[in-house]
Symmetry: D2
């Protein structure tokens, strides 16, 4: 057994992370923290979790004495908590953006000053399927953003094969992606019966996608546009790749089979990957299509933005960090 604290358990992803740890056969949920809602029981705020623990105000002296922590706080606020946890030796999966980027200037351009500069760049990028050996050896894992998770799984086989010349990524996400804070945009009446692009040209997951694509062999400037669709949870990314070189359909299919045939949480399918099929699971569902007319390669991937896009991937990473079967607590 290993003790785990979940910081920021009152948010959507944090609550699910706490639930998954609470039900996990190896991990023990030691603390759940919240800033403004300390004192409430998690299952009263988030009934579906059925976690009867009380949310506590974060107190590093009391709560950092754990074997591991999942940090579900917003960027910039997360970094100092991560630092405090690392100082006491806890292994950390950080779900914020604070340890995902490796270029300090890029981080500052998109997010501002970093909250724990001494640790900047220390995180291992936690897209489990692409990075599991380094994750297994890591003490600090930067859990990917939801859009990068789906996008990189969709594009990795092409990127590694030098096939990406250019790419347009059109993403559709449920409203939980906008967070739990009630706003005009998250009001039911605004989002129901509606579809809208948002943060056109300026979504913060753009540099994260570009950094990781470059690392896989595709140093391209991507066009990434998210859209809000009337779902609670779930996300689909549609990737339109202009190839950098000639290819055959057999080659492309072989690349995906080779990459994912043995992956427990990637489901490669011929047909279109609906988001309902992965709701409340750690699965990513994928399809790839070679368009003979335009020579473009189209790759679609669906995930649950709060699960594989956040909380359950964090647990998958925690499993890897502690030498457990990646599927433990997630099947």
């Amino acid at each position: 057994m290993a003790s785990v604290a979940v910081l920021g358990a009152s948010g959507y992803a944090g609550a699910i992370a706490a639930m998954l740890v609470h039900r996990h056969p190896f991990f023990e949920l030691a603390h759940v923290t919240a800033r403004s809602e300390a004192g409430a029981r998690l299952e009263d705020l988030h009934p579906r979790t059925r976690v009867p623990l009380e949310l506590e105000s974060w107190d590093p002296r009391a709560h950092a004495r754990v074997d591991a922590a999942l940090v579900c706080w917003p960027h910039r606020v997360a970094a100092p908590a991560v630092a405090a946890l690392r100082e006491r030796g806890a292994r950390v999966v950080d779900l914020s953006a604070d340890f995902r980027l490796r270029d300090r200037g890029v981080y500052e351009d998109w997010y501002g000053a970093h909250g724990a500069p001494e640790l900047f760049g220390e995180g291992v990028y936690g897209l489990t399927e692409l990075n599991r050996d380094r994750i297994a050896a890591a003490d600090l894992v930067a859990n990917p953003g939801c859009y990068p998770t789906a996008t990189l799984l969709a594009l990795a086989p092409l990127a590694r094969a030098g096939l990406i010349g250019d790419v347009v990524i059109d993403a559709k996400s449920g409203v939980s992606g906008a967070g739990r804070e009630p706003t005009a945009a998250t009001h039911f009446v605004s989002a129901h019966g509606n579809v809208t692009p948002y943060k056109v040209e300026r979504h913060r997951h753009t540099p994260e996608i570009e950094q990781e694509l470059a690392g896989l062999g595709a140093p391209v400037a991507v066009t990434f546009t998210p859209h809000l669709v009337p779902l609670s949870q779930g996300e689909l990314v549609s990737c339109y790749v202009t190839p950098a070189r000639e290819y055959t359909e057999d080659e492309v299919i072989g690349l995906y089979d080779g990459a994912y045939a043995d992956e427990p949480f990637v489901e490669l399918r011929l047909g279109a990957p609906g988001v309902a099929e992965v709701r409340e699971t750690n699965y990513c569902r994928l399809s790839v299509h070679c368009d003979a007319r335009t020579r473009r390669v189209l790759a679609f991937a669906s995930i649950d933005n709060l699960w594989k896009g956040a909380a359950s991937q964090a647990v998958q990473n925690l499993n890897a960090m502690f030498g457990r079967d990646e599927r433990e607590g997630l099947a």
Copy 2:
């Protein structure tokens, strides 16, 4: 032409009221006011209205010089504005609860101190179909609540015939009924995929329904329970009447035909009245059923809570007050 101001045009009902006045062949939209959003154009806040007017801060000296006003402010805040408008001679339809109740004690129990006590009880209850002669002669009309509108239309024929011994009213409403303010309950993720009863035993429309049923001949204590359903707009009331006396099905059907056959905005149907059928209209759709097994009479009514339950009924009343065809601007 008559000039009309709409106070509180930034809310859901107010915006629709402004739109209906703006498109009306006889009325002219002179002012739209808002408290916190003054300076914005109405069509930017509520694109569907396509009303290019700028929202102004309410200034009685400037804005009360109109022929009529629709007051779409919350209860207690509405009353003083109504008083200011009446003082300058403007005819008023007030959409708040401030002038609906006739018993001062009941008002204070449910709403607190009244904001214009000298006018208390001066409003004519504006359920057009039940009260049109008095509305035509009125200077101050209290537009009914959305639930009372549907409920009273569903029950009036039975009430007048002395048929109501007891009644259970189970209502289902879209989320716009909870107002435009973003809250935990109106967050898309809370309301989507969910159905919940709310304000059990204590919804403020209860005394309003009882007052008007009593006036129609049915002095009963009702059980009224609203439920939130995942719709933007629309409301269905299901009324379960324990009869006060013997009746035949023919009698009941005759009562409804007699009451509504010539009503332009009441649609009596054999089948169930879905709320989609009345969305963004001033119609109320009704069906009545006599259950031979239990002797209960079941009456169902659907309306759009923001239209017939608020804004369009206000315009229907305004038409009546100015001697216009009730359908003008609403067809």
Copy 3:
């Protein structure tokens, strides 16, 4: 280990039943059958199940050699299959209506001729919480309808205490309750943005509710009206009880606490039980309210119509029949 066949696994409830058996630590999924879709893999028809078995045409000689079966066929078609299974000694949970009613005339009035008259009335009514001792000893369990499940859990404490004089039951159900067959009513465009009563006065769950209420001590003719709401899964019943005698609020709360405090799948709450809270679980969430004004008692219960209202309750019953912990495979 015990081998289990799921008949009718291509329907919504059957697919979930198959999934739950497939994941169950004690039961082994031996066969899944379908009528028109034999040959397909279950996970292709119902991706969320992730059950890689092929659907077979029902063949009693091959498929009845199991320790147990869950029969998810429609009424009248189910009975002969149940008979064939019982003949070979398989224990059966039947999810159809064929073995729920105990009065043959009532069955025939509502459903027509019975498909296995020699077994009529042999089923133990499988509402686990109310009947678990008899279920544990049974070879044939009649799994309750979804509406009776929620309604009887909501009303049992009052019924047993002689408190129910009369009751109105207003139910709201997601569209999966109408089955998987595409019809005008289940078309997305019909159901989305809509709420409608259906089968007013004539839903087949009415006699089932009355039979079981009578057995609990409340021989009343109920008014039961279901409504279709724009949800995939989930169901809320709102029960309005006119009491048969005086009572105190403390007494009522004591009745519910006494009945359910130790139930693993009944969650008694002060606030309103939203259906989202029980989605894809075996939980029933309940609240009870004593209305001092009208003396009525209001009880609300939410379940997932496909889980506790069908598939997961069937597995809960199977657990009981095989002497397993009721929660096994359902937590």
Copy 4:
């Protein structure tokens, strides 16, 4: 007054077309036809239309004696009816694909044999904003597909200016786009909570988009991928243009202002065009963005697929053909 028949008024677009004609101050709805549902009243099938006419079986001798017809039948079935109408001199707006394409081989590749070859290519392409002079002089107008309508309005200013080197079009459409026939894909439970790409690489609107783009000056092979989103009505197209040449943001904005500033039904906005804003209207709402990082131009357009994408654009065209104000009956 001009008499108008609507053929195929039992479908979604046909019913709305009939409603718009019925309410139109100049046109008179003479006949509504349906194939399998003749004998029903239109308002019983489609309550929102409130058109009390009876659906008739199409009889060219009786029904072609009208001044004009809107043909809302599927492709291949539409053409012979159009021929019969034209023979008797009726002006026709055909909502099928039968007269949109000008290359006979392309038509046959995508749709099969044409049903009235003598008329092939005789239709004027009815995207009103782009073609209104030719429409005004036409007797046969081919109403555009819903996706081409939104896409061409989004791209026309760039196409005419020679700015389109390549384009990816990612479209999101409500379920009504799949038609009124109940299918597995249009079942509420399939579509709710889901987003899926469909007809990847092979949607029939592709050649229509390419033909018209070429006509505007952009002879490109487009990548067009529609997605089903959980809406009843509404459609958003997101167009990602790789420019064919250098440009400035001022130039692009000038192109759109020049094209649309005076258009009554095109709304150019800075922010994102949500589909809720155009629901049940003839508006197309547009925004354009120049991405300095990638040099791509992004154009977004939202319409109601059944209105501007079908029925209301047909009436807009009919207005033009009869010399009426295009806005008549559509405001």
